[in-house]
Symmetry: C2
Subunit: 444 residues, 2 copies
């Protein structure tokens, strides 16, 4: 187990605290579960706090250190077993999404969760219950993890979940730990659910004149017989950042607001029929253009979609939001966010997972002073989150609460609901050892 | 709120305690959430214990009273709202599965969970995380509940879950309450996920000479492109009980062990193609016969399948078990259970949800004395559960732990795992007010 007293600068910042370094008391690199246990017991004995870090890709400040010791799991990066009978991949916590993808390439199997950031670890994805493009068909990370080994705050280790497809045997600890952002225990090992790769895949790009037109089409698709693998949305402005970054144009882009739908399956004829159904839905809803995509053109459009965030990111200081709303509120939520941003003089654009109601709003600093930027973001947050709470939405669909959104939790949850979460945190981590201050605040 | 001091005899027994009456201090029938709150506060103040009961269909003794007050939710039976935009049905806790089915008939929507017992309440199904026939395609109850209102042991009410399709906003309380069998809170209201009914449905009955042949076919189907709506298994013996009960013969039954597969969708041609794929898989695996079923014949075969349990039940005293194993262990588990039952001189037969690894073993008392029956069941349990635990199985796939299986929990869970569950129970119900002794034992 390597212990560093002096923590590399890069770990003192995160995506949303790029210019402002946090501070850490040190960094520990456990190489196996026993070393995590050792670190936990030592920290517990010495009254220290631990913050677990994986791929260093947290988007809500979960790993931004506030004086704690960083527990870095990047050396626990072994893929341990592929079980083809139960379709299960057993991996250590620090294995990344790209490692999993490379390992399975050519096997005929795949792990469905598909967040944009492939350097993220599977344990980090489990901690935040990450989503991604394919959640509409295959569910989020929660739905694709069979079991996990977890080191508790007292240094004991438990197994949660199993390889069974059904379970009515005791409390569902697996789903409690998933999404708890490392505040209840440290994931050391995971068993991932694999699926058999579909043989065929095609996409359809649908362009609309106005954003408002997307909403009815989204839920018409969701209510139809078509079960898309991905149902993404973005606006024209958002594309331009990706085009600039990649130095190439999106092959087809008639319209201001777009839906990108992918279908996959093992029956080519069935996919074609579904694509026709989709085209009909789109045309009846007044789409400006529908374009069937396959081969290199399909790849090109997806490439643009995949680079929207990095394009915006490269264009200058920005903040990425992650709200989610019920599917019948998507366009209202986007319009509201644009209205608030415009009103406050913040430049903004969006893309998102339309099928899930999960909107990624990108707010851009542009010419604002640091103080203006900070003040306006705060105003924006208060106004947007009020709107979301009134409309049944939540502050995070897939990135987590981290350190950043804790203060907004009372907008979305009652005191009793927060107290219920706190009671669980206190029951499992009475000394607030693990990721303190993340997700919920507890008194010590 | 009606309060009965004298509890009707029928509530003092359960499915597995038919001849042995429990005792209850009284029965309360709250008519709304406020009256649940009132009952909880009163019980808390007076140091009483509450056991929540819904459709009185518990299969693991969860509602078998041991001196507690029964809290009967059957009067909270209103369907409150159908939201077609988010495909959500809002119901009170005491609404039954058959009420939901009748309400949605002809609407084009359906609620996917399909446990055999339609008199069960949706809240009871949520409490045990019930499964049913269609779990292989649509998931179990857990996967089909969007949100719930829950009355806590302190009399406060929380909402868990939401109408959002994704959620990385705080601890997953919804999944903690689902499957906790009423030990952490009392569900008062639920929002159910609805789906659009598929247009076409067909089934295939596959007969094999030997039970052992089922295993490889089950996972070949699971690994194929075919996504069945149901994948059931049963043996020839089991069918005879249903035939006797219904007074009719199964239309087709060549073989000793059967798989019954149902496919559904909106493209008739795609279903036909998948049925051909299934037939090919079955024939390559040495099936004696495959029969495509539709219309009245399909209905007839499913009718037989649906009446296996009631047929066995009518034939005399029996016990229904509910173990689950990883899908690659199904035939070994069935064989093991038969071997143990034979060895102990207990008559047995089985049916089960093959796609989920969930086996319903029916042990029949026949000519055994009460004492022999009890002793042999105990021997059987110890031997079967050891086998299950060694093979990654669990004691309950869909019926729950209830009162009956609590003593076997240490075979499947480590002391630390059980202590983690106990810590949560103590955090949320420190006085052990709710369903005491169910799922886990806690010290008071």
């Amino acid at each position: 187990m390597t212990i560093e007293r002096q923590v590399d600068d890069k770990y003192l910042t995160t995506f949303i605290h790029e210019s402002e370094a946090g501070h850490a008391e040190g960094m520990i690199y456990p190489e196996n579960e026993e070393e995590i246990v050792e670190a936990v017991k030592k920290a517990q004995a010495e009254g220290k706090k631990l913050v677990t870090i994986g791929g260093h890709t947290a988007l809500a400040g979960g790993t931004y250190p506030q004086g704690e010791i960083l527990l870095n799991l990047e050396k626990m990066n072994q893929i341990l077993d592929l079980d083809k009978e139960t379709l299960t991949l057993t991996v250590e916590a620090g294995v990344t999404l790209s490692q999993v993808r490379d390992y399975l390439a050519g096997s005929g199997y795949f792990y469905a969760p598909d967040p944009g950031e492939k350097r993220a670890t599977v344990a980090g994805n489990a901690a935040t219950n990450a989503g991604g493009m394919r959640a509409i068909k295959y569910g989020v990370t929660r739905d694709n993890i069979r079991s996990m080994r977890v080191v508790l705050a007292n240094g004991e280790v438990i197994n949660v979940g199993s390889l069974n497809n059904k379970d009515s045997s005791g409390y569902d600890l697996k789903d409690l730990f998933i999404g708890s952002e490392g505040t209840l225990g440290i994931i050391s090992q995971l068993q991932l659910k694999l699926r058999v790769e579909p043989k065929y895949e095609n996409s359809l790009l649908i362009g609309f004149d106005r954003l408002e037109e997307l909403g009815p089409v989204i839920y018409e698709i969701l209510h139809s017989s078509v079960a898309p693998t991905a149902l993404e949305m973005f606006e024209h402005d958002a594309i331009t950042y990706a085009e600039e970054l990649l130095g190439k144009e999106m092959p087809s882009k008639t319209g201001q607001a777009f839906l990108l739908v992918t279908l996959s399956g093992n029956q080519e004829a069935a996919i074609q029929k579904d694509l026709e159904n989709l085209e009909e839905i789109a045309q009846n809803a007044g789409a400006l253009a529908t374009e069937l995509l396959s081969g290199q053109v399909e790849k090109g459009v997806w490439d643009i979609r995949d680079h929207i965030l990095s394009g915006i990111y490269k264009a200058g200081p920005m903040r990425l939001d992650d709200p989610v709303v019920p599917v019948n509120k998507i366009t209202q939520a986007i319009n509201k966010s644009k209205e608030i941003a415009d009103d406050l003089g913040i430049a903004s654009t969006f893309f998102g997972h339309a099928g899930d109601g999960n909107i990624h709003i990108c707010l851009m600093k542009k010419e604002l002073s640091d103080q203006e930027w900070e003040d306006r973001l705060h105003q924006y947050d208060l106004r947007l989150y009020d709107f979301l709470a009134e409309n049944g939405g939540l502050p995070s669909g897939e990135h987590g609460i981290g350190l950043e959104r804790v203060k907004f939790m009372p907008i979305f949850f009652s005191e009793t609901e927060l107290n219920t979460m706190k009671a669980i945190k206190k029951a499992l981590d009475p000394n607030n050892l693990l990721n303190p201050g993340r997700v919920i605040e507890v008194d010590e």
